[in-house]
């Protein structure tokens, strides 16, 4: 944006015109489409932050417009940030385990823990190491969920869904879809084998590969979230592995035959965190937004977003009884006790896992 403004001030030469046009093109692509007025708050977030019910109360209270740019994957977020000028963005939602990576690039503002409602948040989330770098907090967890199993209650034995052995149960031959994120899928297999996901080594990969390949007879399809949801809803499969509340909770109010759970052997968690950009010119407003999202009402809205449902980080989130039932709210203490976050692996293990995954798809 700065490049564009400066180029307009100068005499418009062919070169400056081209530079300006390029800047405008980048700005129109990268920045949120809605207005970019000085008082606006620009947030780079996941799709669950775009709901009117979440944003409208904040906008009305502060008399500002929240411009939302949604993205998927930390890599995409970093490329968007790279194409932006400092100050273009105020708030970031990030896959919480990636916080040290983003903070290490100097992009995040340290957070004052005293100004955050940490006591209202689930301690299993707030205490996670990846929220801090060198003892300084850079992210606060806002929402989480699990990689587990989602299913059609009318077609499966619900007791089977509690065991990781369902992944190989011949009773469900050809009736299983797998959400295609290979990393947690293989971590779930590790959990079923009694290996802690953080301890997966190169030596463990041959046995994990063997177990993964052994799943293939049960697998009807492998796809992204929308594809596996479609397969479940259309009756092509009865089970989604590697998916849980984020795959079916939003559908359950109208399709009560769907449900989800995690395995007794252990659960694997995903956690999303809220951060404030160090280059933001509206840090106070940005921290107000963070607190708004973390408030009980904000958390209720975020948990039941139109994009996807998942667990709020705030213990006091405003949820109806029906919503709590869908999110298995009463079971969260037990779920959290036996779950671990899915964190980043070493690059060489990750590369080997992708090779094994490709072999599995091709088998």
């Amino acid at each position: 944006m700065g490049t564009l403004r400066n180029s307009i001030k100068r005499k418009v030469s062919r070169r400056s015109f081209v530079a300006g046009a390029a800047g405008a093109a980048v700005a129109s692509t990268v920045l949120p489409k809605a207005g970019r007025a000085a008082g606006d708050l620009n947030v780079l977030v996941w799709c669950d932050h775009a709901d009117e019910k979440l944003l409208a109360p904040f906008e009305a209270k502060h008399n500002v417009k929240v411009n939302v740019k949604t993205y998927e994957g930390t890599g995409t977020a970093l490329s968007i940030i790279e194409q932006s000028a400092p100050g273009d963005w105020d708030v970031l939602v990030v896959d919480a385990p990636d916080t040290p990576l983003v903070a290490g690039m100097g992009l995040l503002e340290p957070m004052d823990e005293g100004a955050l409602p940490l006591n209202d948040l689930l301690p299993q989330l707030t205490s996670a190491a990846f929220n801090h770098v060198d003892g300084v907090r850079y992210a606060v967890p806002e929402k989480f969920g699990y990689y587990g199993v989602a299913y059609n209650k009318d077609k499966v034995d619900e007791a089977d869904m509690r065991s990781a052995q369902v992944m190989w149960d011949s009773k469900y031959k050809g009736r299983v879809a797998i959400y295609d994120y290979y990393f947690p899928a293989m971590q779930l297999i590790a959990i079923s084998m009694g290996i802690h996901p953080d301890n997966i080594s190169m030596d463990d990969l041959p046995s994990i590969r063997e177990k993964l390949l052994a799943m293939k007879p049960n697998v009807k399809m492998v796809g992204d979230i929308v594809s596996v949801q479609n397969a479940l809803v259309n009756g092509d499969v009865d089970i989604i592995l590697n998916g849980a509340e984020f795959a079916v909770s939003g559908l359950m109010p109208t399709m009560p035959q769907l449900d989800w759970t995690i395995f007794n052997e252990g659960g694997l968690m995903w956690i999303q965190g809220l951060c404030v950009f160090s280059g933001s010119n509206k840090k106070d407003l940005a921290f107000d937004f963070v607190n708004h999202v973390l408030s009980p009402k904000g958390q209720g809205s975020l948990a039941t977003s139109e994009c996807y449902w998942a667990m709020p980080a705030n213990k006091n989130a405003v949820l109806s009884d029906a919503e709590k039932k869908i999110l298995r709210w009463d079971e969260q203490p037990a779920f959290l006790d036996r779950s671990v976050p899915s964190t980043i692996s070493q690059a060489d293990i990750d590369a080997e896992m992708l090779d094994i995954w490709t072999e599995f798809l091709q088998s």
């Binding site: 994957g73 009807k220 796809g223 259309n234 690059a347 990750d350 091709q362």
Partner: protein
């Protein structure tokens, strides 16, 4: 007109032509030649511990040709593409023939519009629509069960057959257009002369119409091959991911591992296949005939 002014005009005309070429040339260099060069260079680099390193190596090529599950992606793509092209030609040729020779001229425009209707639908929407038709609770299974032809739903979705079905739906229309455009250019006097000389309708078709329409078939088949072998969406939605085609293997390397060297190797291999197919079919590719 003095020689000097004519010379100036020629020069002015020459300058205009030169300027007119520049945008296309710049576009091609910036958006094709440079990225292609970058892709070739990166294919000889490596991704070590998550970082791209500019050390020259053939390791990515060795790995691609040594690992069955990677090479199978290319072979799967070739098989699916050949099946799609063959089936599409078999369906498109009769349709184009009827369109060109059996439909009255004043109806041909309307029927042509109907023929290109699938092009008006977005690729993703078209693929998901097929899922609604062939899934276990889909229209086709429900209909077959209602009329008593089957007792259990047929497993049609999420298979290679479903991918080919989605492709054929699109490419039959494309091939119909190229073959039709060729057929209507064949002078009717050729067929009339052959008939007058005692040729049966089958002989007229086999010895006059078919040979003369082959350029249209070749161009359509080539375009089908090129688009089909590089398509990611249709196999991703309809194929169910239980076997991987080369575009899906490329996307896995890019989106999940940011392994651009390996993705570049796969992309270059795909380009080599397309170029080889071009040279094989080059003598039949007469674009002026379609």
């Amino acid at each position: 007109m003095s020689p000097s002014s004519a010379q100036m005009k020629r020069r002015a005309g020459f300058d205009f032509t030169r300027w007119a070429i520049h945008p296309a040339l710049i576009f091609t260099v910036v958006f094709f030649a440079l990225p292609l060069t970058a892709m070739v260079v990166v294919s000889f680099w490596q991704r070590v511990y998550g970082k791209l390193t500019a050390t020259w190596t053939l390791a990515n090529y060795s790995k691609f040709f040594a690992k069955d599950y990677l090479l199978d992606a290319l072979l799967n793509s070739i098989e699916v593409t050949l099946a799609t092209t063959a089936i599409s030609i078999l369906l498109a040729y009769p349709l184009a023939y009827i369109l060109a020779y059996r439909i009255p001229a004043h109806w041909q425009r309307f029927v042509l519009i109907l023929t290109v209707l699938p092009f008006w639908t977005a690729y993703v929407v078209r693929s998901y629509s097929w899922l609604l038709v062939i899934s276990e609770k889909g229209i086709l299974n429900v209909m077959l069960m209602d009329i008593g032809l089957i007792n259990e739903p047929l497993a049609m979705s999420y298979s290679r057959g479903a991918t080919v079905l989605g492709f054929v739906h699109f490419f039959t229309m494309l091939l119909t257009l190229t073959i039709y455009a060729n057929l209507v250019q064949i002078k009717s006097s050729y067929r009339k002369a052959a008939a007058d000389l005692g040729a049966s309708p089958l002989q007229v078709f086999l010895r006059i119409t078919l040979p003369l329409s082959l350029p249209g078939v070749a161009v359509g088949a080539f375009i089908t091959f090129v688009i089909c072998i590089g398509d990611y969406i249709t196999p991703q939605i309809l194929g169910g991911g239980t076997e991987v085609l080369i575009p899906q293997a490329i996307m896995l390397q890019v989106s999940r591992a940011a392994n651009f060297p390996m993705a570049s190797v796969m992309s270059i291999t795909l380009m080599v296949v397309v170029v080889a197919v071009y040279f094989i079919s080059a003598k039949h590719l007469k674009m002026e005939r379609v």
